[in-house]
């Protein structure tokens, strides 16, 4: 690292005058006293009036520029040299592909400056996770470098295309690492785009950052790698901690998973169904529910990677202004998924607006903001009126899954009618015919 990353204004000026760069050892004099240590980067959001020095004991302290009388560059900083770990021979083991999209499942800390950087090569991954070399022959690859909240349907397309290429190259399984924020959406999207996937694809991430010794990333990755080799099923799954302990991972079906906690390890839950199974160091335990599809042949598999992003997910709420809904419906969209109240309702005064949108060729689907249970639009008048207006009830499909599915259906169907039919068809476990789980 060089330059003056993060410094601006007065602090940048005083450092530039001293000829200092990040990583240099400086003596910062303030009146009668002085502090000696390494200049470390400053974050963009910090003020421009402090210099941050890392002392010999490892601590950072900020010194007010106003007090600084002189900055002396004592020594030039040496760029940290990463000692590349030895290549690990894992020949003869099944191949597993790790596709990175931006979440840092594995990272190194530069204690000199405090910077955290992701591990990108197989050797680095092996050195961080020595167990991996005993599990599979890993081919890591960075497909995207995007924060989870910035992922868009076009990124799902990129991932889906790359997955189908990797499948054609012949792998035992695929691990997709990503940030957790929109992991549920991605899982759902890939479940449709990669229907008939002949190998398992495990999406993993970490709720607690991978630079910390307590990170959940380690177990999530090791478990996913083991299953990529050992699982006798195929398809798209999210694999994350089943509870707070570093012991059991839950394997969630891509279309039924939701992030239900902002920060906890077990944030991801299967909604309305049991997880497909659990993984622990003792092995994989598939739950007694509909059996996941078996592995298949790579030959003949073709992804349907396209999505049409012109879809909105609208959560209805009391007092939603007519103008707000009108603006959404009039913004050139091809489809809308409602997160309605209860059994699948919106204010009856808005029904005409919806009807107009449907008559204009739009597709409107209904899910429930209850998340648990299924919509039933025959119970109340409003529901029946919405049905009459052309709204498609989506049973117990999760709103986020419905959004991804509608984007996918619109890109792959020839007509609005076909899209409506596809939306009501269970393609990837997104609709369960029987309600068995209460909560």
């Amino acid at each position: 690292m060089s330059g003056l990353s993060g410094y601006r204004g007065p602090s940048a000026k005083i450092l530039t005058e001293a000829g200092a760069s990040i990583g240099d050892v400086l003596e910062v004099q303030t009146g009668g006293e002085s502090v000696t240590g390494t200049l470390v980067p400053r974050y963009e959001h910090n003020d421009d009036s402090h210099i941050v020095i890392k002392l010999k004991n490892g601590y950072n302290v900020g010194i007010s520029v106003e007090k600084v009388s002189k900055v002396v560059r004592v020594a030039k900083g040496e760029a940290p040299k990463f000692v590349t770990p030895e290549k690990v021979a894992s020949k003869g083991l099944p191949r597993v592909s790790i596709l990175g999209t931006g979440g840092t499942i594995a990272s190194r800390v530069d204690y000199r400056t405090g910077a955290v950087s992701p591990a990108t090569t197989a050797e680095e991954l092996y050195s961080l996770f020595p167990e991996l070399s005993g599990i599979a022959s890993i081919t890591p690859e960075i497909v995207l470098s995007v924060y989870s909240e910035n992922l868009e349907p076009k990124h799902w397309e990129t991932i889906a295309k790359r997955v189908s290429e990797v499948v054609a190259e012949g792998v035992s399984g695929i691990i997709l690492t990503m940030g957790t924020d929109t992991m549920g959406y991605t899982a759902a999207a890939l479940s449709f785009a990669l229907r008939g996937l002949p190998v398992p694809l495990f999406i993993v991430g970490s709720q607690r950052s991978s630079d910390r010794p307590s990170s959940d990333a380690f177990l999530n990755l090791i478990g996913a790698a083991t299953m990529a080799v050992q699982a006798d099923f195929a398809g798209v799954y999210v694999v994350m901690h089943a509870d707070s302990s570093d012991e059991r991972l839950a394997v969630h079906l891509g279309t039924r998973v939701r992030k239900n906690h902002t920060s906890a390890r077990d944030a991801f839950e299967s909604m309305g169904v049991e997880p497909v199974g659990y993984w622990s160091r003792q092995g994989i335990q598939v739950t007694e529910r509909e059996a996941p599809p078996p592995r298949g042949e790579a030959e003949g598999f073709a992804a349907m990677p396209n999505f049409d992003p012109r879809v909105a997910l609208v959560k209805f709420y009391p007092s939603m202004p007519d103008g707000y809904l009108g603006a959404i419906l009039g913004s050139g969209l091809r489809g809308v998924v409602f997160e309605g109240t209860g059994l699948g309702h919106i204010n009856s005064k808005n029904i005409d607006q919806v009807k107009k949108f449907v008559n204009g060729g739009g597709v409107v689907c209904m899910t429930s903001q209850c998340l648990w249970g299924r919509v039933d639009m025959n119970v109340y008048d409003t529901g029946r009126d919405l049905l009459k207006a052309g709204v498609v009830p989506l049973e117990d499909m999760l709103p986020e899954t419905a959004l991804a599915k509608l984007m996918w259906a619109l890109a792959n169907c020839k007509s609005a009618d076909e899209t409506r039919a596809v939306m009501q068809e269970n393609l990837a476990g997104e609709i369960t015919p029987r309600s068995v789980q209460r909560r």
Partner: protein
Amino acid sequence: MERQARATILPFDPEASQLRVGLEIHQQLATSTKLFCPCPIVKSDELPLSFERRLRPTQSELGQIDPAAVFEFNKGRVNLYKWNPESACLVDADEEPPHPPNMEAIETAILMAQVLGSGVVDEVHVMRKLVIDGSNTSGFQRTAIIALGGALPVDGVSVGVQTITVEEDSSRVLKEGAQAREYALDRLGVPLIEIALDHVVGVPEHVEAVALSLGRSLRSTGRVARGQGTIRQDLNVSLLGGQVVEVKGVQKLNLIAKVVRYEATRQMGLVKIAEEVKKRGITEVECKAEDATAVMRGTSSPVLKRILQKGGVVTCIAVADFAGLLGLEPFPSIRLGKELAEIARTNGLGGVIHSDEFVKQGISEEESVALRAVTGYDSNAGLVLVAGESAERVETVAGLVVERLRKTPIGVLGETRAATDDGETRYQRPRPGAARMYPETDIPEIVVTEEWKRSLRMAMPVSWKEKVAAYSKRYSLSEEAALQLYDSDNSKLFEELAAKLRLEPSVIASILVETPVRLSREGVDESKVTPEALTSVLVAVDGGRFAKEAAVDVLRAIGKGDARDVDEAVSKLGLTGMSDEELGKIIDGVLKRNKPLIEEKGDRAFSVLMGEVMKLARGKVDGKKVSKLLRRGLDEGR
């Protein structure tokens, strides 16, 4: 405390051998909530919730993993955390990012900086310090430097202050095993102030005086927690300019000198052993480890027999030219063999057996010969047996033992040791590398403005010396009694009771300060002698229910669990008071019995008579009353 001129107990001259001790004090702050979450600070007796974690070493940019971290992970340890929502939350469970810091804690540190004349930093940066022994759920401790520099005056000498930091306390250890540790989360995240001092050279007792003085300064802020376990001292000990050994967790002040003496002696012992190694012409220690399970199969050594019966294994490490070195004791109980045994114990084995103790351990000459045959070394070699039920564990420990033996010529190794309750030190882990800190990005920097500092300067506490002098004056206490009171955990309680009760302040002070110490020496559980028990006893004495002399008996009964409260103690001890008539009878009896003595000694017999009456009255009456009536009796008798 008086500084002693020279510690005669050290078997060598501390100054000539450059004995250096750096002191770090960790003091819990009396904030109402934890440092990075709003959990109240309470000790939970019930811990209904739990989870298990394994901490992994993380890697630095240089491709290196911290040695201490690898050491912990090699042990493959699972940490079990137990908690109660009354005293911990998801932040403590490492399931939620930290909340903004408790500003009261930061302010206390700034105050302390002002007391010690330290320079407060302009911008506080919270760091993550890697600690992966499991005591922090995250694998790091959050810590921040608040001030640098300053000085602590001790007995006319000034000891430099290095840093003042605020950090979160670790989890409370419930159970410690080689494979699993159990922790409680109630203490995790409690704010601590850490003050690191420059090292002092020489006398162990001086180190203790420094710690006492620093503790008093901390208490002068009125913002620190009191009671057992609220203060811990770490000592960085080195001699002859050798590597520094970090001794963690000296809980009692009066153990500091003893711990320093032990550790210094241990280090000097290792230096002497290293000298002996050099004398033998060994520059590189040659070790070889071989499986010796088959050789030891028929052994009569009780320890090995037990292990082998359970299907365990034995590894024999031969160390060339080390015969006699493993059991060599340059000072009593300081041996290389003991160092090896500690490594084994830390890693889940019972210890090691070395050739200098074969006879004592029941290993025969034939077995010794066979072991040498297996390893291919002659009788000049030292042998170390590592045995255990798990082959994997034995291999790990054997590797660590070999590593330790190879370093014998270095003498003292930089490592982290724990202070024991009896004033010794015990191996814990290699000393962590210095570069294992990085910023806690979840917490924004805190700018310390001049204005803030100025407003805190207004709240500067009165120094402890002034406070002690004030006690002495206000309550007519001797200087010593006032200082004892200040040092005790009950000074606040004293102030409250002195304002409320009619009893002499000196009586209140003596019951509050001396009784708990006396009972603790008798082996009564200190924690049972609660402020509530002390208060109710003093109220009872104040109300004339029993004599002040009986307070200790009442508290003993409560402390031992013989009585639930004062009422029960009074009735069990038969302290239900005594009528004047009864007392008069006792005095008459005593006067009659001692007539010859009174005639001989006159007034000088008073104290003897007084003692006898008090003994017979068994604390049922107040000494003053006895004195008055006895005096009257004496006068009348004449």
